[in-house]
Symmetry: C2
Subunit: 377 residues, 2 copies
Amino acid sequence: MTLSWTRHATDGAARLGTLHTAHGDVATPVFMPVGTAGTVKGMTADAVRSTGAKLILGNTYHLMLRPGAERVARLGGLHKLADWPGPILTDSGGFQVMSLSKLRKLDQDGVTFRSHIDGSPHRLTPERSIEIQHLLDATITMAFDECTPFPATPDEAKASMELSMRWAARCRAGFVPREGYGLFGIVQGSVYPDLRQRSCEALTGIGFEGYAVGGLAVGEGQAMMFDTLDVTVPHLPETHPRYLMGVGAPDDILGAVARGIDMFDCVIPTRAGRTARAYTRAGVFNMKNARFADDGRPLDPDCACPLCTRHSRAYLNHLFKCAEMLGPILLTWHNIQYYQDLMAGIRGAISTGTLAQFAADTRARWGRGDPSAAELR
Amino acid sequence: MTLSWTRHATDGAARLGTLHTAHGDVATPVFMPVGTAGTVKGMTADAVRSTGAKLILGNTYHLMLRPGAERVARLGGLHKLADWPGPILTDSGGFQVMSLSKLRKLDQDGVTFRSHIDGSPHRLTPERSIEIQHLLDATITMAFDECTPFPATPDEAKASMELSMRWAARCRAGFVPREGYGLFGIVQGSVYPDLRQRSCEALTGIGFEGYAVGGLAVGEGQAMMFDTLDVTVPHLPETHPRYLMGVGAPDDILGAVARGIDMFDCVIPTRAGRTARAYTRAGVFNMKNARFADDGRPLDPDCACPLCTRHSRAYLNHLFKCAEMLGPILLTWHNIQYYQDLMAGIRGAISTGTLAQFAADTRARWGRGDPSAAELR
């Protein structure tokens, strides 16, 4: 049996569940730390595990270029290479080909592009993307699609969505079903309700182990993103996991969970960790700020990560001022811990039917508590 | 009672002992990882501890500039700041003022210099260096000296050594004795036996808790360094620990231990870890070398570090090719583990009177074992 999902409880549209995979179970709603090139930047696998993270994401585009999909397969797969025996989701490469590579050219069959590293020519098709993800040994394979740019006219969005739906069928045909593995389809259609509905219908007609909402968090803003979820999610099956790709800030996650989303990934906690931005229960802080130079308090007294239990804000400020590697290491660790704690809080709130209150309390704390907080919000 | 050292066994000139400090005991011979600015670069304190390291080094020059000695004291001292309750040795700042700072000007009373960071003016004297190290809460304080440049004429070396001996007396006068803390004097005299002997006599006349050999590993080469140890160490008391500053490569350490040295520090394992140079039982490897791209073996099968137990050479090669932070993190961790394992092996060999055999075996393994090894030696 392929990968499956069990629903345990609901709270409005929000769902509490478990994803059953070949590489272990995952409680949902879940946030996946991004392990771009086979490593969550700045973190050992043990450090990632210590935060409670169960499922991480790898990027097909980066891994096909370096170290190469066939090489990863020869070396025993991405789980072994990266010391991550747990489940791994890989994206299809489509989004990053479009945004990162040079001289990309889209045709009905796939995309030809040049590597952003050395300019070497490459080609991705639905079939090749699925094959690469198989070689990587992805637990969850994502369909190869075109992430419709924003803004797009209704005609552009329709043509792009229809291309992605044809590709989705080819991905389904190319995917080799394996026990506890799964393939997710990706809904497109920009911000147009009728296109989103038709995309959902096309994908559910094909049938996938999960459904992702793509083409959001690309500049449309939170309000339009939430509006699009409102007209998309009701057309997805109640029985399958739903994944909002590339989202997001904590507040985005709170809103999307309330709209029925189960899975998230985003570079925010890791990228912010490298640039001195701390995500905490009291808001977002710029740890380079001089106000922290003599602040002997823990960054977040309610956090169990090594930064918060062993060090002061002053130390972290010092590390970033000196450009010491330990600054990004400790703050990435903390930010991932914060995201995992947020998801655990969300899951607990759904189980007791108190998600709305939890979200309100969480948002309220971001704006107060610490007088030096909230400067970045 | 100030810091002390107990000798347990000897093997030729080599000594096995224990350093008793306010922050715990340390088995010698010992290698101290370098924690320049209050962090061993790329390592959490837990990671450093996991290698068996008990004693780390901090740099007065870096810490006085950032975050500042008075600030460190306000924040509870370096042990608390850096999550290192164990013993810490700080250098005096003299060496780095001479090598790193701009517009330095030496006079009989001290050194005036400009920060390499922002050009701001600073001054170090023997008294201020001791005060800074006290503010940092160094377990072992180093005397403020002039590291005699190499080469130096006999007259230059004599004048420099005599200046350092006058400063040593001022350091002794300025040091506040505390239970389990200690002050080490530093022998100078370049490569001249009579100057080295006179420096030893001057320092033992003043009296310190330990004696360092300075002014070596500054370009004179291993043979001249060993020759200088041969004419210096016999003039130091048998009852006190001896520290060879800034040394060195594994082979330097083997030779210096055999000449009666008990303590070492060097940036090699950490700096090499950031630049893809792996120190292993089979020699030194450049992990960026393409030969490792498909090498699924552990870097060093006899090493217990996370890199060697969880990952392949191919993964490390990939991380360095992608400039991923995890490459330096894992390889620094490994290199420190290798150095700690080397010191444990040395201590075991002294205890059984087999140091010469251990050194011969260790050197022999560097040159063979793995066909891809030794390329850098």
